[in-house]
């Protein structure tokens, strides 16, 4: 197939070409997404208004977008940190559920004095997330078990554990719904006075700064890059591979757990079973589109937050399933995956035997 074409690897792709194919891929993905939305009944004229206009140009929409973006920044960082080591954390949702459960447990159990309750909730969330990724980490390091599957399976188990609690011990006795009791005022992150945005947003931004410092400035980050590029070469060069891997992967789990904590403490103010869906894939998309760079991740997370806002609009006005969010992200990623081919390879026509 395609025998008339000759494909050779590029060893030194110029930066402008990388940027060009990347943007072209996003454009192609967006074009596919637009075509699809129009095909299922969203007027083309409305698309611009809903997505750009509603999600970014109105105060209430922007506030909503930033609220969505808060946990998205954390999961994007989580995926980016793990992927820097080529560690596929597909259990982001699981760690997020555990983080939410950890924060909720602290809140419902009234652990510690009220003044330190909120910090404690967030610490518990991060620790719970880190703990949940520790098992796949150990299995990978000790036995070589693929983390793709182990993190994913633990994600399903985490969700079932949340259901176990919310249909059982934590069920709201008043309504019987599978939601926990609402948190006290001291267990809620303060609102920023702009829509539903809350203190979680600056916390997420601070997390991004911290991650940037760790992976782009310090020796840990330098070692991490070596481990991600070639683990054997790093080991042979004396890099403490195990310690570096543990640090990155546990940080990834903690960031996902923090995302869960920010959702319950900042937005939901209680534990529910609807708060965690879809974050794994969004995290990977954000990390990938942000080129695994912490600060770029923030920007992409805000854009994806806008997609979430727009999807709410689609749902209310056009009755479109919220699965459209994951579909849109998937199409854009397909676009980028295909486009990157043109940056990584040179395609030419065979000129063999034409003449001498």
């Amino acid at each position: 197939m395609l025998d008339g074409l000759v494909i050779t690897r590029r060893f030194d792709t110029p930066t402008w070409l990388l940027a060009l194919v990347f943007l072209a891929g996003i454009a192609a993905g967006l074009a596919m997404a637009t075509a699809l939305l129009v095909a299922i009944g969203v007027p083309a004229s409305a698309l611009f208004n809903e997505v750009i206009g509603e999600a970014f140009m109105t105060a209430s929409g922007l506030a909503q977008t930033l609220t969505f973006a808060t946990p998205l920044i954390c999961v994007g960082l989580s995926a980016a940190v793990a992927l820097r080591l080529r560690f596929w954390n597909i259990g982001i949702e699981g760690q997020l559920w555990l983080g939410a459960l950890g924060a909720t447990a602290v809140a419902l159990g009234d652990v510690g004095p009220e003044a330190t309750r909120l910090p404690l909730m967030l610490v518990a969330a991060a620790l719970a997330g880190a703990a949940w990724i520790a098992l796949p980490l150990v299995l990978k390091l000790r036995l070589g078990v693929s983390e793709v599957i182990s993190t994913l399976l633990l994600g399903s188990i985490a969700f079932l554990f949340a259901q176990h609690l919310l249909f059982g011990a934590w069920r709201d006795p008043a309504t019987g719904f599978p939601i926990s009791l609402a948190f006290d005022a001291s267990e809620r992150l303060a609102a920023l006075g702009f829509g539903r945005t809350h203190l979680g947003l600056p916390i997420a931004l601070a997390a991004a700064l911290l991650v940037w410092f760790l992976v782009d400035v310090t020796r840990l980050g330098f070692y991490g890059r070596a481990v991600g590029e070639n683990i054997e070469a790093a080991r042979a060069a004396g890099v403490p591979v195990i310690a570096v891997t543990c640090a990155f992967v546990l940080l990834s789990g903690a960031l996902s757990g923090l995302a869960g904590g920010l959702i319950v403490a900042g937005t939901e103010h209680r534990m529910s079973l609807t708060l965690g869906a879809g974050y794994t894939f969004s995290g990977i998309v954000i990390a990938f589109l942000g080129r695994f760079r912490p600060l770029a991740t923030v920007v992409v997370a805000v854009i994806i937050g806008g997609v979430f806002t727009a999807s709410d609009v689609f749902k209310v006005f056009y009755g479109i399933s919220e699965a459209v969010v994951v579909l849109l992200q998937g199409l854009v990623l397909f676009g980028v995956l295909v486009a990157q081919f043109f940056g990584a390879y040179r395609i030419s026509r065979a000129n063999w035997g034409a003449s001498a």
Partner: protein
């Protein structure tokens, strides 16, 4: 069953006259002209040409990277050339892939054999022959019959992974002949063979030629094949510099001069008197994950300032020995001591702190990081010694300065501190690795095939660096399949065979024949 054009070779391997078997006026079996090919803009072939007569053994000679293999890969359609033309038996052909090549009667035995390791020989033949092979049983019968006919002992039901290198080569040649090859192209066929095995192979190719087949021997070692070839073509830097001269008409010195462009002085063997014990390996045993024994009680020791050569056919435990010494693989038994300290279970980092340095056969396997800049690769190992700032810091400016100095001192061409290491040529990448490993704290250097794939000048620079290190008192374990290199540098040469040391001798007593006998276990 397909009848190949090569009839039963019954000759006794006597030398044949140039162009034997082909009456005058017969068009060449294979002719290439004006071939251009570039890899990512880097030219690999520039107006290259080659003419092969029917019934001859033709040596295609040149340094590593001269374009010999690339030219033959173009001829067989593995690579698509950017320009040029190809004639088979005088007819213009357009070979776009392996299927076309087989149809035109061209068969190539690559350095990396085209055999699926997990398949049996018969399954591999069935894969290659497609419909013509018939049922699995028919394919096995075909293999057995052909093996009988050409006098190659090849078992059809043996798994390729279980065969020795020489056996694999025979299976591959048999497969290519079954495919109907009238032109047999062998890429560095003797590189993986012992002297005795090489002799047998070259006798076989001579027999093929007397029966009307044509053979191309791609090699960078002229001497080995000169006696068996009828004509020689020399390539240098992608160009044909000598086009099909009768072997009798050129001296080997002339061919060497053409291939290299200029002669390089051989590296002098280090003459420092050995000091105290540096590295002691005692009874080392190792197995693969699937249980295969790779090291079987290997024992050796080397002293300060001494180069110990380790000869052996590839795949006899060399890679596993290197991995165990580097601390990347765990031996099942035995011990390793460095200057009297047991390091059998020490981490790679701890070994490095004690002065052990390893240069692996594939420098990008666990030596350099392809995607890292030259500066970062140079700094990676020194970071932990505190050269680049506080434990959590990275002193970028100092790393850059050191890299500039290293590039200058080691004459690493085409390198800049910020340039990606993967973009360097093999020789220059190897210089980066040696610049890092031969630092001022090195005490023991383990180098595995350090010059493989390098051109003559780069190889000479690497050998000189090893010799200089030994003169400084560094103990060097030089593991190589290149006996010339071993004999040039080593004070003693040990032979590894099936994971054991089967013999050891001072270099004065060593000869290719004696080492070869030990390497195949006839001793």
């Amino acid at each position: 069953m397909t009848e190949t054009a090569i009839a039963h070779p019954a000759g006794d391997g006597r030398p044949v006259s140039p162009g034997a078997g082909a009456p005058p006026g017969t068009p060449p079996a294979l002719e290439l002209a004006g071939v251009h090919k570039a890899f990512d803009g880097k030219p690999a072939l520039i107006d290259a040409g080659f003419t092969l007569r029917r019934g001859e053994v033709h040596a295609l000679v040149g340094e590593n990277g001269a374009g010999k293999s690339t030219l033959m890969n173009v001829a067989t359609g593995v690579y698509a050339a950017d320009a040029g033309r190809e004639l088979v038996d005088g007819e213009l052909v357009r070979i776009r892939g392996p299927v076309d090549a087989a149809a035109a009667g061209l068969g190539m035995v690559h350095q990396h054999f085209r055999l699926v390791p997990r398949f049996t020989v018969a399954e591999n033949v069935r894969l290659a022959l497609g419909r013509r092979a018939g049922s699995p049983a028919a394919a096995a019968a075909l293999v057995a019959a052909k093996a009988e006919k050409i006098g190659f002992p090849v078992r059809p039901d043996a798994r390729v992974a279980d065969l020795s290198v020489a056996e694999r080569q025979r299976a591959e040649i048999l497969k290519v002949l079954l495919l109907g090859a009238r032109v047999l192209i062998l890429d560095e066929p003797t590189a993986v063979l012992t002297e005795q095995e090489s002799d047998a192979l070259l006798a076989f190719t001579a027999r093929l030629a007397t029966q009307g087949g044509s053979v191309v021997l791609i090699t960078h070692k002229l001497r080995e094949v000169a006696a068996r070839a009828d004509r020689v073509t020399v390539m240098r830097q992608g160009r044909t510099v000598l086009d099909g001269a009768p072997i009798a008409s050129v001296s080997s010195a002339e061919v060497a001069r053409l291939a290299v462009g200029a002669t390089v002085a051989p590296v002098a063997r280090p003459r420092r008197a050995p000091g105290g014990p540096a590295l002691t390996v005692d009874g080392l045993a190792h197995r693969r994950d699937d249980g295969g024994v790779t090291l079987d009680g290997l024992t050796l020791s080397l002293r300060e300032g001494e180069v110990l050569g380790l000869a052996g056919v590839g795949g006899n435990g060399q890679s596993e020995l290197v991995a165990c010494l580097a601390g990347l693989a765990a031996p099942r038994a035995g011990s390793v001591a460095l200057a009297g300290r047991d390091i059998t279970t020490a981490s790679p980092a701890a070994r490095r702190d004690l002065g052990l340095r390893v240069v692996p056969a594939d420098r990008f396997a666990f030596g350099l990081i392809r995607g890292f800049s030259v500066a970062d690769n140079l700094a990676l190992a020194a970071l932990r010694r505190g050269r680049y700032g506080a434990p959590f810091g990275v002193a970028r400016r100092r790393i850059r300065r050191d890299a500039e100095a290293a590039i200058r001192d080691h004459e690493i061409h085409g390198a800049a501190p910020g340039r990606s290491t993967g973009l360097l040529s093999g020789g220059n990448a190897q210089k980066v690795l040696l610049a890092r490993e031969l630092d001022d704290a090195v005490r023991v250097l383990v180098a595995h095939s350090p010059t493989r794939g390098l051109d003559v000048r780069a190889a000479q620079a690497v050998q000189a660096a090893i010799a200089a290190a030994a003169e400084r008192g560094v103990a060097c374990l030089l593991i190589s399949e290149d006996l010339e290199e071993l004999m040039a540098l080593s004070a003693r040469i040990a032979v590894i065979n099936r994971g054991r040391i089967v013999g050891e001798m001072p270099v004065e007593d060593a000869s290719a024949a004696a080492l070869g006998a030990l390497m195949v276990g006839h001793a």
